[in-house]
């Protein structure tokens, strides 16, 4: 009896906490479709004007192209590096494994400003011009740890004997990897790609300092925040971005679970 009540109180708290987590995201579409130019209650009526203005804005389009280029390149590169690292750490023992993996995962906790500034100092010192290429360099570094986290779960639930069976049947090492392991971890790979893409698309600090004069979506948003007139359009853009992130993550989660089902695991969260 006491246990039930205890659970009820906790449940109410957890639901309130979720509301707190979602409060800003719930407000976003409300103001994106609000006819008033001031972001405040009461709402003034429904409009899609801000979305139309958003679509007609050339700088914004350029930012979108840049962001997509950066996110696609970064997610592919980070996932490739992640595959190497996850395979190495789950299948093989090698000297210095703990420190090496810790070092590669470091960008997950390191303050981004430090990563951005140190890269900036090197790039400027070497006379390399800032562009979307330099942003990609930074984003790959930031995305790789997350890709590794997702891929490690996928690789670690692999049964070693499957691979050995492939060897016994005359496959080469590469053949066994391509024909046996790769299909089994494919959902993990797709999940890693989607998560890396989302991180890169939303990343601000590195893009802010390393992009030179090229806008990305977050840096464009940041530059507009000072102008009260621009806010409704930013709300519309934010709504699109958040919706896109949620769709990508839901897809990532779907693939991750399908991957778990395929190898018979019952894992919980993707980054857990």
């Amino acid at each position: 009896m006491k246990g039930r009540m205890n659970g009820g109180g906790l449940r109410a708290y957890a639901v309130l906490y979720l509301l707190f987590l979602y409060a800003p995201i719930i407000l976003l579409p409300l103001f994106a479709f609000n006819a008033g130019t001031i972001i405040a209650f009461p709402l003034k009526g429904f409009t899609t004007q801000w979305f139309q203005e958003m679509w007609g804005n050339p700088t914004l389009r350029r930012a979108l192209t840049n962001s997509l280029t950066i996110a696609v390149s970064s997610s592919i590169l980070a996932t490739c590096l992640g595959i190497f690292a996850a395979r190495a750490s789950t299948r093989f023992a090698f000297p210095g494994k703990g420190p090496i993996m810790g070092f590669i995962m470091l960008p997950m906790v390191l303050p981004e400003i430090i990563v951005a500034m140190s890269l900036l100092v090197v790039l400027l010192g070497a006379g390399i011009e800032l562009s979307i290429l330099t942003v990609i360099l930074g984003h790959v570094l930031m995305c790789t740890p997350y890709a590794i986290a997702v891929l490690t779960t996928a690789f670690s639930s692999l049964d070693k004997s499957l691979e050995e069976a492939a060897f016994d049947l005359g496959e080469t090492r590469w053949g066994a990897f391509r024909l046996v392991i790769l299909p089994l971890v494919m959902p993990g790979i797709i999940s890693a790609l989607l998560i890396s893409f989302t991180i890169s698309l939303d990343e601000f600090i590195i893009a802010f300092f390393l992009a030179g004069n090229e806008p990305t979506l977050p840096t464009y948003i940041f530059s507009q925040l000072r102008f009260p007139k621009a806010i409704p359009v930013i709300m519309a853009l934010g709504t699109v971005l958040v919706a896109l992130s949620i769709v990508l993550l839901a897809l990532g989660e779907y693939f991750r679970r399908r991957g778990n089902a395929r190898i018979g695991a019952t894992g919980t969260g993707g980054l857990v």
């Binding site: 006491k2 205890n6 659970g7 906790l10 708290y13 957890a14 906490y17 707190f20 987590l21 800003p24 995201i25 407000l27 976003l28 103001f31 009461p42 590096l81 992640g82 190497f84 690292a85 395979r87 750490s89 023992a93 090698f94 000297p95 494994k97 090496i100 070092f103 590669i104 470091l106 906790v109 390191l110 303050p111 981004e112 400003i113 430090i114 990563v115 500034m117 140190s118 090197v122 010192g125 360099l137 570094l141 790789t144 998560i195 939303d202 601000f204 600090i205 948003i221 930013i234 934010g238 958040v242 992130s245 949620i246 993550l249 839901a250 989660e253 919980t268 969260g269 993707g270 980054l271």
Partner: protein, 290 residues
């Protein structure tokens, strides 16, 4: 056997080489450059460095009351954020691990992580919109006649703490949840069979066993928030700068890269020392193997 182990080491090393090289090149080399820069002085009026190794940058920072104040504020704000985030997150992690049905856990975790993956910048900005003088809270409260004058929420440390506690919530929930999931449920039954109350069982069995997760949560929230740039800028309105804002001004605004580097190194050192002390104090929890 020894040969196969060696070949395994070689294969592992070959596989780890590409990501390791990338991290060495894009992370370690720049960090070392930052460290290197911090020991040089800028020639007055030029962008190149003066000759000779010096500790002058660090001496300047040590005696500069503004830098010290900003550093102390950053650490203080991060400490508050960490405390708020972990305290608020623990009951949620506990609920997820002990109350939620196993087949519902993945859904809850997914719901908790979604806001984290959506643009950080937009979330911070929305808190600004919520807390502004004519923002969501104030316009609602005055509209309902609850208050006459809008309440000032922005540009306060409290507002910064709340925004960051929101941003880092999943970072605290996930490690604590993992630690709680690992607890052998029979230990809790044993505690109660031996006559402990529910509360005492929590205090003497659950909490100590959950400590590795709590410690991970503390570090994973504390370390990045010290260097947060966006929240002091947007929520603090530039009036309550933290160390990241100061570094940015020094590096780009004033173009003094050596001093900016020394600031970055000092900030990292301060964070490392505090994290180290925190780990040492809690070492006994980490030694326990379940």
């Amino acid at each position: 056997m020894a040969a196969s182990r060696r070949s395994e080491a070689v294969q592992g090393a070959t596989l780890i080489a590409p990501p390791l090289l990338y991290s060495l090149l894009i992370l370690a080399a720049p960090l070392l450059t930052l460290l290197f820069y911090s020991f040089f002085l800028l020639k007055t009026g030029y962008s190149d460095l003066e000759q000779g190794f010096t500790l002058e940058n660090y001496r300047q920072l040590a005696v500069d009351p503004i830098f010290r104040a900003i550093m102390v504020r950053s650490l203080w704000v991060s400490g508050l954020v960490t405390l708020a985030t972990v305290l608020l997150a623990f009951p949620v992690a506990y609920y997820l691990s002990f109350v939620v049905r196993p087949d519902r856990k993945a859904l809850w975790l997914f719901l908790i992580t979604i806001p984290f993956w959506t643009s950080y910048l937009i979330r911070v900005f929305l808190w600004k919109v919520i807390m502004e003088q004519n923002g969501v809270i104030n316009s609602t409260l005055t509209g309902l006649g609850i208050i006459d004058e809008p309440v000032t929420m922005l540009r306060t440390v409290g507002a910064i703490v709340m925004t960051l506690a929101h941003a880092y919530a999943p970072f605290a929930i996930l490690p604590i949840f993992v630690a709680l999931e690992k607890i052998d449920r029979s230990l809790l039954e044993a505690g109660r069979d031996l006559g402990e109350s529910r509360l005492m069982t929590f205090w003497r069995v659950t909490l100590p066993l959950a400590m590795p997760g709590v410690i991970a949560a503390v570090l994973i929230v504390f370390i990045p928030t010290v260097g947060d740039y966006v929240t002091p800028e947007l929520i603090g309105g530039g009036r309550i700068p933290m160390v990241a804002n100061f570094i940015q001004v020094q590096m780009l605004g004033l173009n003094n890269r050596p001093l900016g580097s020394a600031m970055s190194v000092s900030a990292m050192l301060a964070v490392a020392v505090i994290a180290g002390i925190f780990l040492l104090v809690n070492l006994r929890y980490l030694k326990v193997r379940q």
